[in-house]
Symmetry: D2
Subunit: 113 residues, 4 copies
């Protein structure tokens, strides 16, 4: 099993290109698809009330989370973004927005800290 | 810059744990957060009509896509899922659902192929 | 205060037309906007864990729910749909999908009943 | 066919209460359901590219739009909100945020006007 982002991204691109689907992958339609897959993931928890674990549905979680990730990787391909780079940059930005001394143990948004 | 999924995931977990946020990371609330970040990514394309490129907003795309990815990585952590494994399995399942000879150049859903 | 759907819809259309915004109201972009406003409504409940009431945020709920409704009314206008009619028809369809004797007290999806 | 919001809302509540579903209708789970139905509406336009009309799918639009509206009405019931009132107030607020002389013919967000 690879642990390489670039290898996984290349596999997703190969899947897309074997089917000649790049023509459909506008950033707008990819953003829609990411939202739709995120909704399918969220659907697992619909009406679960306070039952936050939903253990019996882990297979569904696996599949839908993988779908969100695959479309995110393909969005990065469509926009020529380096996945590891944008994630690392965002973590750095979040560290500045949520300094440990203010954010420790708090679920507040940075605008309310 | 790392290319390792596990290293990036460990960095996201460290960010979370330094702030003592694991307590909030129920799968249900993480699924909500993935959906909300996906919506912020989609917002870049609101009212863009047929203008599918939206080049002037690439910084926003970068940041919001990174947010979706970070929450997906943290959902995998909360659910003890191996990211590379679930993506590889899902690609294999998609290959079966969308065989090249049927899916080539078609944007139809597998249920309509 | 009116109780008429058609009057409220006409007010929403007047708001749109005074600003010459009908040109942007493609069904696709309206569907995106409905999703984005739904996400803003959902954001009120982000990280609320099992605290399902979130009473202190009722103003935000009011505003975001109204936004979803306004875009739904404008989608109906763009697609020439009669709001009361489609809601009445959908309730009738749901009554068939969820017969009382099967669905009573159950949160299951009709496909699982 | 009624044109009354309160009558339609009462019908939606009757549907809910005949099935003893009020127990599931926490605001958080209703907000999730509104988001999920909004995603199903948006799915009609997935991969439609610049083809904004999607005329062949109007039945699906009808059904999914009706679902979003029904959950919005039930959210109003759960939160004791007057639908006509919150829509009228939001239209008034939007008139202030988007004055005609600034917003005419522009798709910009009020923060960018």
């Amino acid at each position: 099993m690879t642990d390489s982002i670039k290898e996984l991204q290349a596999e997703a691109e190969a899947f897309r290109d074997e089917r000649n689907w790049k023509q459909f992958h506008t950033p707008k339609d990819l953003a829609i698809s990411i939202s739709l897959e995120a909704a399918e993931l969220l659907e697992v928890f619909q009406w679960s009330g306070t039952d936050m674990q939903v253990t019996e549905k882990q297979n569904k979680v696996k599949e839908e989370l993988a779908d969100v990730l695959l479309y995110c990787f393909l969005m990065a391909s469509a926009e020529n973004l380096d996945i590891a780079e944008i994630m690392t940059e965002k973590l750095a930005a979040n560290r500045r927005k949520y300094p440990v001394e203010k954010a420790y143990g708090s679920a507040k948004k940075y605008t309310e800290l």
